[in-house]
């Protein structure tokens, strides 16, 4: 839209975020203390500590991958509105290599986590014997590492192109990403389904749900959008996105969060209702476990707290345009997603109710420190906005008038 004189004002490059050293040190401290607590947890109750490690590994891996998914759909669709926010989502992908490492760490806990990894349990169990070819430890580790390497490859390529564009400018790199994005998205759909089947669904190797991958994807995008809002508002509060991210962009992001709150509920209910209606013994166990004891309250929390609360908070227009509300509901939604994965993982170990004390808190803090450190490091080394993105100008001024 170069023909409009009103559009010619330059967007000032905010540059990288000078992350305060206190924040950086806090993240390091959290990581050290958290993983020390995890280590202590291994001594006290190795099942519980490993369950918590898997839980947090999956939660943060989803955020890192979700950032790439968000960026890829923007490139694929040629979306204008999101150009000022995309770098924030890209920053999450810097955690992907660490997610591969934490997955490899899970390799040491396979026998504590996965029932199917014990030959003596598989022997004589018709179902597990039938699945033994697929659920074998080496194959499990190899295929998941390959899947995660594919994600990392695309993150390296596409986010790399985006960063290169910051200095080179032009449209060629945008077109390159537009070509890479569909390839990634197809592979993402297949590989993330596989990863969620392998890493979470196989906790109960007798149970299966073809919707499980979509359920995990719904949670992935739910939490990624929440984190995008949290980081964007954090940067905005520090004045880095002045004149770039307006309340119009926050409004759009809020609508996205609202939509995927509903999407999560839709998918979660669809998975539940089909199993409830058919009432087949080989399928109902999963939900029976989660409606027993204290787990019933967690299940009710997911309906009310993970769906209804964000749904009602994000419903009014004013709330989506208010950065403080968006920040707070973002934090809340991240918490709700964390509880959701707890609800997926822990009932396979503890039938009577959730365990959430120092082992879980410690492991969570360790991962928060690690993730926070890596992502803020990315944001302190790169511009917080894709400053030469050809769509940025339109996105900023189109909304500003």
């Amino acid at each position: 839209m170069a023909t409009h004189p009103s559009h010619s004002h330059e967007i000032k490059n905010p540059g990288p975020w000078e992350v305060p050293s206190s924040l950086r040190i806090s993240f390091i401290a959290l990581a050290v203390i958290g993983f020390a607590l995890f280590g202590a947890g291994l001594k006290v109750d190795s099942h519980r500590a490993w369950a918590s490690f898997l839980h947090n590994h999956f939660f943060f891996m989803s955020l890192a991958l979700g950032g790439l998914f968000f960026a890829a759909i923007q490139w694929l669709t040629g979306a204008m509105w999101s150009a000022p926010l995309r770098r924030v989502a890209e920053s999450f992908t810097s955690y992907l290599p660490v997610a591969i490492l934490t997955f490899l760490v899970i390799g040491f806990g396979v026998h504590d986590i996965y029932h199917w990894s014990h030959a003596e349990h598989v022997q004589g169990d018709i179902v597990l014997e039938g699945k033994a070819g697929y659920l074998s430890v080496p194959f499990f580790l190899i295929r998941n590492v390959i899947a995660m390497s594919v994600w990392f490859f695309f993150a390296w390529k596409m986010v790399g192109n985006s960063l290169k564009q910051d200095s080179e400018g032009g449209v060629a790199l945008t077109f390159k990403n537009k070509a890479l994005a569909p390839a990634f998205l197809i592979l993402f759909a297949i590989s993330f389904t596989m990863a969620s089947f392998d890493q979470l669904m196989s906790l109960d190797p007798h149970w299966f749900s073809t919707m499980f991958g979509v359920y995990c994807f719904a949670g992935l995008f739910y939490s990624t959008l929440a984190l995008t809002a949290v980081v964007t508002v954090t940067l905005k509060r520090r004045g880095l996105l002045e004149g770039i991210v307006s309340e119009e962009h926050l409004h759009d992001l809020g609508k996205f969060m609202f939509a995927f709150t509903t999407f999560w509920a839709y998918i979660g209910f669809s998975q539940f209702m089909l199993i409830w209606y058919a009432n087949l013994p080989e399928e109902t166990g999963y939900f029976l476990n989660r409606f027993e004891g204290q787990w019933l309250w967690v299940s009710i929390f997911l309906l009310v707290g993970k769906f209804l609360v964000p749904f009602l908070v994000l419903l009014p227009r004013e709330n989506k345009r208010n950065q403080n509300i968006l920040f707070n509901i973002g934090i809340y939604m991240l918490g709700a997603q964390w509880i959701d994965i707890l609800w997926v993982v822990q009932p396979e170990f503890y039938k009577d109710g959730p365990r959430c004390f120092w082992i879980e808190a410690g492991t969570l803090l360790g991962f928060v420190g690690l993730f926070g450190f890596i992502v803020t490091r990315f944001l302190s080394k790169n511009n917080v906005v894709a400053i030469k993105d050809p769509r940025l100008e339109e996105a900023v001024f189109h909304h500003h008038q």
Binding site: H4, S6, H7, E248, F269, F272, M273, W276, Y277, N279, L315, R317, H398, H399, H400, Q401
Partner: protein, 195 residues
């Protein structure tokens, strides 16, 4: 906005309704709209072939009450779905076909969802038509280009009992105004079919 204006009869016997200025560019329209609004005419509106971001703000329009209609109707749909299903399957004519309790909320959820969406969707369309005064067989677009590639500002002749708090309308002055804010073409609009 336009239904307030009553006619001023001109010498030719036609009824003057106002003047309309055409713009070729949405950004020019936006800038012009701000200036025309500042001039404080009693009757003034804009016409564009597609929605333009920020135009409602430039024009000083209040937010539409439509979302409340959607919300209320959605809620009504949700409650109707509950009543319909609870009454028919658990109270009035209980037939057990699925081996489930008669009062089974999970089985009701899809219909609750569908009726919420159906009521909400239909009410939104109905409300939109109502608030826009549509359908309207009386008025005609004064130029087909405003539904295609041109943008227009209309300044209308206000009612005879002119409100003193607004700027007085004269044909020549309004024409001058529209030209001054960059209209490519200014036309006088008479009450012919359009009103």
């Amino acid at each position: 906005m336009l239904n307030q204006s009553t006619a001023t009869t001109t010498e030719s016997g036609k009824t003057l309704e106002g003047v309309v200025g055409f713009f070729n560019d949405p950004h020019a329209l936006l800038e012009a709209t701000k200036k025309v609004r500042e001039a404080n005419y009693e009757v003034f509106d804009t016409f564009t072939p597609y929605p333009i971001h920020g135009l409602e703000k430039a024009q000083g329009l209040k937010r539409s009450p439509l979302p409340y209609v959607t919300f209320g109707a959605g809620l009504t749909g949700f409650l109707c779905a509950n009543l319909l299903q609870i009454w028919t399957s658990a109270i009035d004519w209980p037939i057990n076909v699925g081996g489930k309790p008669m009062f089974s909320i999970p089985a009701f959820v899809p219909v609750m969802f569908e009726l919420t969406v159906l009521f909400g969707g239909l009410a939104t369309v109905a409300g939109m038509l109502l608030f826009n005064g549509l359908p309207n067989t009386r008025k005609r677009a004064f130029d087909s280009s405003i539904t295609r590639d041109r943008f227009a500002i209309f300044i209308g002749s206000p009612s005879k009992s002119a409100n003193q708090s607004f700027k007085a309308f004269t044909e020549s002055e309004a024409t001058q105004m529209l030209k001054a804010v960059g209209a490519q073409e200014v036309r006088t609009v008479f009450a012919e079919g359009w009103f």
